[in-house]
């Protein structure tokens, strides 16, 4: 049951990341359309800056959980590499505990702005009104998934302390020591 849920969450993270990447492709296309319209048809697409700038945070948070799963967040391992194995796993737990708390903090603090922005259907721009409240949804969604990934890393590291031969099924989501 837990294993199934874990797989579901990992797949969700990977799919979200892919959607975020497609978002980058869409930004590229939107800007190219704007440029083409302006140069060749004297008809720029009003609202392009709003669409692009408001998508960026959403894209970042869509891609965050999978980056967390893959352990792609930048860190220094200078000292950690020299620690005894059990201590290194403890450091791993501490690091991801910080991460989990932070994502929890984002969820808690973003909740009210999210509900309020949704209530007033917050938008930006005059020529084309770009709704910006969905960005809050994505921030919370991305933080929930990232928080889960941090907790999952903590559990894996804790299991590894108890049983040093413990390994995860796939290397990607493993823990780095």
């Amino acid at each position: 049951m837990i294993r199934k849920f874990d797989r579901f969450m990992n797949i969700l993270a990977s799919v979200s990341s892919y959607i975020g990447a497609v978002g980058i492709l869409i930004i590229m296309i939107v800007i190219c359309f704007d440029v083409t319209g302006r140069i060749f048809f004297n008809h720029p697409n009003i609202g392009t800056p709003e669409i692009v700038q408001n998508s960026l945070a959403a894209i970042a948070f869509l891609m965050l959980p999978w980056a967390t799963y893959l352990g792609q967040h930048v860190r220094s391992t200078m000292i950690k590499n020299r620690l005894p194995v059990k201590l290194a796993y403890s450091a791993e737990i501490a690091a991801y505990f910080v991460g989990a708390c932070l994502f929890l903090g984002v969820i808690l603090s973003a909740w009210e702005p999210m509900t309020f922005a949704t209530k007033i259907k917050d938008f930006q721009g005059e020529g084309l009104r770009v709704p910006i409240y969905p960005v809050w949804w994505v921030i919370i969604y991305g933080s929930v998934l990232s928080c889960y990934q941090c907790i999952s890393k903590i559990v894996k590291a804790a299991a590894a302390i108890k049983n040093p031969t413990f390994t995860t099924e796939d290397d990607g989501g493993g823990i780095q020591v």
Partner: protein, 445 residues
């Protein structure tokens, strides 16, 4: 607790957390949260920095260049043009020791005319140059240094985000600043090239060369080279130059802005990749690679903003600058101290924040000493860019690490760029000694 104390403690804790392997993004946000909590004694205010900054930090049209240039870089490596470019560069300057290092510097200088953000240059060239240098048996430290060091050209050669910010803060002409950056940019690129040749001669093994039995220095042999001729090499490298011309010509010909250029360039490389046989599966691979790199860079930018906001709230940065201002010292010493403080701030803050915080405080000093603001701007920008390469917070280094992924430690990159930091310092000294290097071009306008 006094706010300055909080700031000092937070800097110390930040260093400690990062050293003990807590992710840099996590450390920055945690310390900004705790810092604000201690200062305001209200947990809601501290929490709110997490939400507002997540939402707003990268909500700017110009930030789109980061994912788009990363995407461009992925397409370039996917389509193989990166490899072709470096084969070509190596073909043309293989006689020179450290040819690929020089090629990295030259391509970065050309690319700088397209991008206004160094982080984007670092991400693109880490992807393009490192595998090639490694294939030619260059030492990893040297290769990392060359890529990291030359990526600062991105904000020294116009267009440049930092120059725009400085121009607005100091009320100097942005156009003149752009012109002023060209000569120092070329000087720095020149110093890098000479430095690379020097390093390569002194230690041939750095650049994949070795002494043979007869004591003669030869390059490591790489398979394909035998079949190459001038025409083939040039033809294969042609597409990348067409893209550079398209992007550069587009910007300077008035068809699009530098931000838009990143989208046009990415689109051009997409077409090139398809023409070279990229299928949907390849596209998916490129997209996933882009996602990984982009998300860690964007996350760092968000958390870096949180941290610099906390420092601003503490008033510590202002206090630091005031100290410099209040010391009744000579112009040379003060300039040296300003540079020193900028380097210190560069250790913990991002470039734009440093400018925002320090320029207003330095302007009165500059007026007192009668300094030329354009010259001062270029000096400040190079010094602040050194901060992109210094630990513990070096955005260019992190962007490279995010691009490379496994296999290289952040420390390796920080170590690798040390020689290039020294060369930057040399450039700063030269420009301080000869202000006309910066003021000559703008004066022609």
């Amino acid at each position: 607790m006094s706010m300055i104390t909080v700031a000092v403690i937070s800097v110390i804790c930040l260093f400690t957390l990062i050293l003990f392997g807590v992710h840099i993004g996590f450390s920055l946000s945690l310390m900004s949260f705790i810092g604000i909590w201690l200062m305001t004694e209200k947990i809601q205010i501290a929490l709110s920095i997490l939400a507002t900054t997540s939402f707003e930090a990268i909500r700017d049209y110009t930030f789109a260049v980061i994912p788009l240039f990363v995407l461009m870089g992925c397409f370039m490596s996917q389509s193989g043009v990166a490899k072709d470019l470096f084969d070509a560069m190596n073909y043309f300057i293989k006689k020179l020791p450290g040819g690929l290092g020089i090629a990295t510097v030259v391509s970065n200088a050309v690319f700088a005319a397209v991008t206004g953000v160094s982080v984007a240059s670092a991400a693109v060239f880490a992807r393009i140059c490192l595998p090639e240098m490694s294939r030619h048996r260059y030492k990893p430290g040297f290769a990392l240094g060359a890529v990291g060091g030359s990526s600062v050209l991105g904000m020294l050669i116009p267009p440049s985000l930092l120059m725009i910010v400085y121009g607005m803060l100091s009320e100097t002409s942005i156009g003149k600043l752009f012109l002023a950056g060209i000569v120092p940019g070329l000087i720095l690129a020149g110093i890098y090239c000479v430095g690379i040749i020097g390093m390569s001669i002194a230690k041939p093994e750095l650049t994949g060369r070795a002494k043979n039995a007869g004591g003669k220095v030869i390059s490591a042999s790489v398979e394909e080279e035998a079949t190459q001729n001038f025409l083939m090499v040039s033809l294969r490298a042609l597409p990348i130059f067409i893209i550079v011309i398209l992007v550069l010509g587009g910007i300077w010909g008035g068809f699009f802005t530098p931000t838009e250029a990143s989208a046009v360039g990415a689109f051009a490389t997409l077409i090139l990749s398809v023409a070279r046989g990229m299928r949907p599966k390849g596209l998916k691979k490129v997209l996933l690679e882009t996602a990984g790199t982009t998300s860690s860079i964007l996350f760092l930018l968000i958390s870096a903003q949180m941290y610099s906001r906390m420092l601003t709230m503490s008033g510590a940065t202002v206090a630091l600058a005031n100290m410099v201002q209040n010391s009744s010292l000579g112009a040379g010493i003060v300039l040296f101290m300003i540079c020193f403080v900028l380097i210190l701030l560069g250790c913990v803050l991002d470039s734009t924040s440093i400018l925002l915080i320090t320029v207003p405080l330095i302007l009165p000093i500059a007026a007192a000493f009668g300094w030329n603001l354009i010259w001062l701007g270029i000096v400040m920008i190079i010094v602040i860019e050194m901060g992109l390469l210094t630990p513990p917070f070096g955005m260019v280094v992190f962007a490279m690490k995010a691009t490379i992924g496994e296999g290289v430690e952040v420390e390796d990159i920080f170590k690798g760029v040390i020689p290039f930091l020294l060369m930057m310092a040399m450039a700063v000294v030269i420009i301080i000694a000869f202000p006309s290097l910066t003021t000559w071009l703008p004066s022609l306008q």
